[in-house]
């Protein structure tokens, strides 16, 4: 027989002011199964909690209903109190007499009647509650970091420095990402490579980090603490252990005119190449698409000159399987090709370039060694026009969102240009200047005031060529919308930041959500900014939304600390409010008929298939099984189950039907 205790709280006057709490306690005492019913001024206070604990001990209660505020407020408090008195915490329920009753109704008989009903509903429920115990799942204390840009590097280093193993996977031949391509960084103008390359080396040398470059995530299975990832290590055509990185092969390679990805197509590279001189690892890769040997079967010059005999033409992609406990997605961004603005002439005029290309022009390691020369004829441009928001904040032709970094890097570009070409004129067309950030506004003011960059508020309508000059037609909206026409030598478009072209496929592979643009969707925009809705997967950097370096690094450290917190225990303890498939004695074993409708409905892929076999291995039936590490307890499967074989702990059919009968 159940022995239920009911504890009605006055919450000072909050409940007692509208509800006749004494009457509620008296009524509850008459409910079948209730052996103890009292009311008290403040149940959540120490004396109040002691009242509950004492009753549990003295009256040997098998269930407790606290009729007080919302369970979202004090359920943990009262469950803890029950646990301290030796009652399983899941045998405690709360009737919400405050938020759902006393605060929203007048002091009438109907209000007290409702309060009594609410208590009765929960009494009927708690009678059918079963003791539940936290679910413990083991944790593989190794993290998988996807993407070797600054976000991935930061996350990997933070996790590795905390003493955990990290597997860092980078798609390109070198880590470094976009930050390695940048010349100087705003707002300090310190050299990007100077601050990044030591970090890259640290990653390569860290004893806790295993680095897979030229590799991609092929598959991800499993759940928090227990993922199994398959990494495709693409054929580099080089034996990485033998290669010393001397570069003899690169010097001799006959195919020298391949547009360099690192230099944003402004420079050339060979078919066997390292992306840039400071690459980590500094081991070349053969671009099979362009290599003469792979195209014609002849050449092998690199093999002949390689002193370490490290060339492997027959190397194949390798699939590496790893077990990890957490994943950090830091796959970064791409800049949108400005091809959606044909009127700006990108692709048509060589001297209309993207911001990323300008970075390479301004970089000391770039194709022009940092001298600003325009791509068409190598002349130093005397007038440069920077067009902000090329594609961003443009619902009509581009993307709705603000790419966030363009205002700052455009100011930086204009400033760098003015520092390098003293007599040159720099113009910036902008919609608004968004310079929120530490020292950001000051930086933009410096560009305008000290470096005399001409800021024109208005958009550019068209760019075309006339007599060897690029004519930029725009409008100055601060001067009565006067049309402006500038004869420029070079035009730099601050093109929108977009997710990697295959971001959606990656998200699907990891079973995480993404937004309409393809940016990965964090679990909560305010309160869970580095977690994904799939437990154990975290996000950092620009793959989540456009952001600059400091923000990417901050988010990466945030994601890393989440991983470290997860790894701080050997086992993960979870609330047991999960679905279970019933099991019973032979010959049924389970009423599950194996239709696996639940499998198709589960948003978390928590349904597994379990084969029930006889002792000699003969298959009796295949039934559904819930992976308790993955299940989040939504109960969608329960509502869908045809044979009513799956139930949700804490909200079982029996409990909810009983609640209804009490209504």
């Amino acid at each position: 027989m159940p022995r239920i205790g009911v504890f009605v709280c006055h919450c000072g006057e909050n409940i007692a002011g509208t509800v006749d709490t004494a009457a509620v306690a008296r009524a509850a005492a008459e409910f079948p199964g209730v052996v103890h019913s009292v009311d008290y001024k403040y149940m959540c206070s120490d004396p109040g909690q002691n009242l509950i604990k004492q009753a549990i001990r003295e009256k040997k209660l098998t269930g407790v209903v606290v009729a007080a505020c919302s369970p979202r407020m004090h359920e943990p408090t009262f469950r803890r109190a029950c646990a301290e008195a030796g009652l399983n915490p899941f045998l405690c329920e709360m009737a919400n007499l405050r938020e759902h009753c006393s605060w929203v109704h007048e002091r009438t008989a109907a209000t007290t009647e409702k309060a009594i009903d609410l208590v009765r509903i929960l009494v009927e429920k708690v009678k059918r509650n079963r003791p539940l115990y936290p679910i413990n799942v083991p944790i593989t204390r190794t993290a998988l970091v996807l993407g070797g840009g600054i976000a991935g590097i930061q996350a990997a280093l933070d996790i590795a420095n905390a003493g955990h193993k990290v597997i860092l996977v980078e798609r390109q031949a070198s880590i470094g990402g976009h930050m390695a391509q940048l010349s100087e960084t705003f707002p300090t103008l310190d050299c990007s490579q100077c601050i990044l390359t030591p970090r890259m080396v640290e990653v390569a040398q860290h004893p806790n980090i295993t680095l897979y470059t030229y590799s991609e995530l092929e598959r991800l299975e499993g759940f928090i603490g227990n993922f199994r990832a398959v990494i495709r290590k693409k054929a580099r055509s080089i034996d990485e252990t033998a290669c010393t990185g001397c570069g003899a092969c690169i010097q001799k390679c006959p195919t020298k005119k391949i547009p360099s990805e690192f230099n944003a197509q402004l420079g050339m590279r060979t078919a066997i190449y390292v992306p840039f001189p400071q690459a980590v690892p500094n081991k070349p890769v053969i671009d099979r698409e362009h290599c003469v040997y792979f195209k014609t079967g002849r050449c092998k010059l690199c093999e002949r000159v390689c002193p370490a005999k490290a060339i492997r033409y027959d190397q194949e992609d390798m699939l590496i399987e790893v077990n990890v406990g957490a994943v950090v997605a830091a796959t970064g961004y791409e800049v949108k090709g400005p091809d959606f603005f044909p009127e700006y002439g990108y692709g048509q005029y060589k001297d209309v370039i993207t911001g990323l290309q300008f970075e390479r022009l301004a970089s000391a390691s770039g194709p022009t060694q940092g001298v600003i020369r325009r791509p068409s004829d190598g002349a130093v441009p005397q007038t440069v026009v920077f067009v902000a928001c090329a594609g961003s904040r443009d619902p009509a032709k581009g993307l709705n969102y603000c790419s966030k970094i363009c205002c700052m890097y455009t100011a930086k570009h204009a400033m760098l240009y003015r520092h390098k070409v003293h007599e040159g004129r720099a113009y910036v067309f902008y919609m608004d200047i968004r310079a929120g950030g530490k020292m950001y506004e000051e930086f933009v003011r410096r560009a305008i005031e000290e470096d005399q960059v001409n800021y024109i508020r208005g958009r550019v309508s068209r760019i075309y060529e006339r007599n060897g000059k690029l004519i930029v037609k725009g409008v100055d909206t601060l001067l009565n919308s006067r049309p402006v026409e500038i004869e420029a030598d070079l035009v730099v478009l601050a093109t929108a930041m977009v997710p990697q072209p295959d971001a959606e496929q990656l998200a699907q592979r990891m079973k995480v959500s993404y937004d309409e643009y393809g940016f990965l969707a964090e679990a909560h925009p305010k309160l869970r900014p580095v977690e994904m809705n799939t437990a154990g997967i975290f996000v950092a950097g620009a793959c989540q939304a456009p952001k600059d370096i400091p923000e990417s690094v901050a988010q990466a450290s945030g994601a890393a600390s989440k991983v470290i917190a997860l790894f701080s225990k050997e086992e993960l303890s979870r609330e047991p409010l999960v679905a279970v498939v019933n099991r019973c004695a032979p010959p049924e074993y389970s009423t599950c008929i194996g239709c696996f409708l639940c499998e198709s409905a589960c948003p978390y892929q928590a349904i597994e298939r379990e084969e029930i076999r006889t002792r000699d291995g003969k298959l009796i039936k295949t039934v559904a099984k819930v992976n308790q590490g993955v299940c989040q307890g939504c109960g969608t499967c329960v509502a869908l189950c045809r044979s009513k074989s799956i139930d949700l702990q804490g909200f079982t059919n029996e409990q909810v039907f009983a609640e209804l009968i009490a209504v």
Binding site: M73, E99, H100, C101, V104, H105, A601, P603, C634, L660
Partner: protein, 149 residues
Amino acid sequence: MAAFEPKIVAFVCNWCTYAGADLTGTSRIKYAPNVRMIRLPCTGRIDFMLILQAFGQGADGVIVSGCHPGDCHYTAGNYHARRRWILFRRLLDFLGVDLRRIHFAWVSAAEGAKWAELVNEVAATIRELGPYDTFPKRLACRPEAVEVA
């Protein structure tokens, strides 16, 4: 005889509507006391047998409310609920259940005022419709069928 006061059962999800109704409380917005809320983790958990059972137990109206589409705490539970409802309502109609007594709504955790409005509106509608004594009782299981612990 006292005026008819309907009994309304509300099936709400824990994350949006339950929290929204909490907000109604903290905002001290008054509404009709006719509603009894059943807290579930998600609208996706709502087996439609529960709705029939509510009517079988004498409810005159039912509210089903969860997170707005796209906002589900469990990613897609409310979509499941919505899809199921689209199919189920035709079946209910066929079985002779008065569809005017079932209200499907989305109330987020920020919509305390909306919850109060919803309850008042439904209470007014059901009050006008009168007691639901024509519900085909055979559609719900009898209370005795539920095992008492």
